[in-house]
Symmetry: C2
DNA sequence: TATTGTTATACTCTATAACTATA
DNA sequence: TATAGTTATAGAGTATAACAATA
């Protein structure tokens, strides 16, 4: 194990590399495909189960209004369902529809597939392991920004 | 070393975690501070030296038009300089100005500082090492998307 | 009054198309 | 004609402000 790198250096290289990946991922467009924020919300629902719009916004670190817009698009395409809270008429629980479950469970979004293929073709097992291990660290980092 | 994770799983967790970091980083606003794409361009110039607008766009994986807009903002604030190519009147070399060099070299952008503080406060040396090692892998991944 | 969620509006970052100037 | 770069315009994703409905 090498010595600990300077946090400033780590911040530097992370900001660069992460920016590049996001720009690249966004650049590849697929018709009728879910967008990055949509995919993120769907995966959150799969991992965490049904949730209110406000809770989702908090998890995803975006404003409730933005989440509202994202969910609107998902509902239009039948990927999520809303169940009004019988106790509190203001709230609704958002959950994955049958179609939404299929889409996320099978991981068959073209965007994820493209990245999976790139990983399989150009990275060693050890590197995949490294990237896999880095992901939870990145999630944790996001909480402190 | 654990066995190699499935590339699909790696793609999944990377897309999620990276999205979160970018949204969090963008959410924290600082007046008069360089934006993420601006910072990225400045760092590229520091690492790679003077370059043309087109070359920068290619490195950063954005269109030449977008890079033009980014550079326009940086020039207005005196962070970069343009040197016309004496041989070819169409081209200019972009380089960091004195102010731009200072800003990037000292790493004193508020955004980088915020992330550096978070890393220093909430991550172990081994984790920093892990994140540091993951950055070049992410850059490579971006090339194949 | 406070809370959940939406609608209206605007800003940032990016793209594509059309243009200018130079080669 | 071809290339480097800019200007014009549009779209995605985000934010804040103002509003409606419910508590």
């Amino acid at each position: 194990m090498a010595e600990a790198p300077d946090p400033g250096d780590v911040a530097h290289v992370l900001l660069s590399s992460i920016g590049l990946v996001v720009r690249s991922a966004r650049r590849s467009k697929f018709d009728g495909e879910v967008s990055l924020p949509e995919l993120s919300a769907l995966k959150r629902l799969e991992r965490g189960g049904p949730a209110t719009s406000a809770a989702l916004a908090k998890y995803e670190q975006i404003s409730p209004q933005s989440m509202s817009a994202t969910l609107g698009g998902l509902e239009t395409r039948g990927l999520i369902e809303r169940t009004p809270d019988p106790q509190d008429g203001r709230q609704s629980m958002i959950s994955l529809s049958e179609a939404g479950q299929q889409l996320v469970r099978t991981g068959r979004t073209k965007r994820t597939e493209l990245m999976a293929r790139a990983l399989a073709a150009h990275f060693t097992a050890a590197e995949l392991e490294q990237l896999f291990a880095a992901a939870p660290l990145l999630e944790r980092l996001a909480l402190y920004l």
